[in-house]
Amino acid sequence: MWSFFHRLASPKHFYPFATRLIPWLGWSTLILFIVGLYLGLFVAPTDYQQGESYRIIYIHVPAAWMSMFVYMVMAISGGIGLVWKMKMADIVASSAAPLGAAFTILALATGSLWGKPMWGTWWIWDARLTSELILLFLYLGFIALQSAIEDRRTAANACAVLALVGVVNIPIIHYSVEWWNTLHQGATVTRFDKPAMATSMLIPLLTMFLAFKLYFGMTLLMRARVEILERERDASWMKDMIMESDK
């Protein structure tokens, strides 16, 4: 088991592993999205307060959860790269950053599209919205810092430090709806007592969440593969592999 993880730490073994896993993740993501969309758009009942507009939840909440989850993946793998000088950990961290930024943009934009009809405004400087916007800036900062530093090792270290410092924002986002009076509604799913949501609405939400999660797994591997191609283009195993695929 451990030797398997050890092998994955080297790009040479990670690349074919990713290639084998991507189609499986792709098909399961597709199936989960079809089921989740069917349940969320056709089966889940209309909300008694928000009418049909609440269906934005099936995009908004998974995207917002993923924006925080991907940040943790990025910070932890960045930290591993920082401490153990692991090439693969740096590759995972830098592949996660643009995906995290994409989920954050999606969460903010769908939040806006939901806020307009329900709150009467596209944007408000409320604690939840502001801390999520800071999350977007952290992702963009990570990406900008990486492209600003020429040397890969230095860039990875600097980005990892930035990512680790930024982790402080994650609990702020999560608890913002409790610590401050916000326009944003409180947690409905991640509570200690049972979720304040009907099962018929909760199941599509969890299905969509799983779909988003597998989608992230797939696109993370896809991006990691491109990063490996860019970084290892002079390695002999890479040349062998490319020649092999030509036959």
Partner: protein
């Protein structure tokens, strides 16, 4: 069916959200696929030059 697309009067907001999600999720599949093809083509060109 038109009732479904109307989304109780919230069509603009609901379908914009789903449309945006589709665009962002598809873009993040297509972009790395294109970059991968370009990289492989470039490595091949370099290999041919050295042979």
């Amino acid at each position: 069916m038109s009732e479904f697309f109307n989304m109780g009067g919230y069509a603009l907001y609901v379908w914009s959200s789903y449309g945006l999600a589709l665009v962002i999720l598809l873009a993040n599949i297509i972009l790395p696929m294109r970059r991968r093809k370009q990289q492989i083509a470039m490595i091949k060109r370099r290999l041919r030059r050295t042979l």
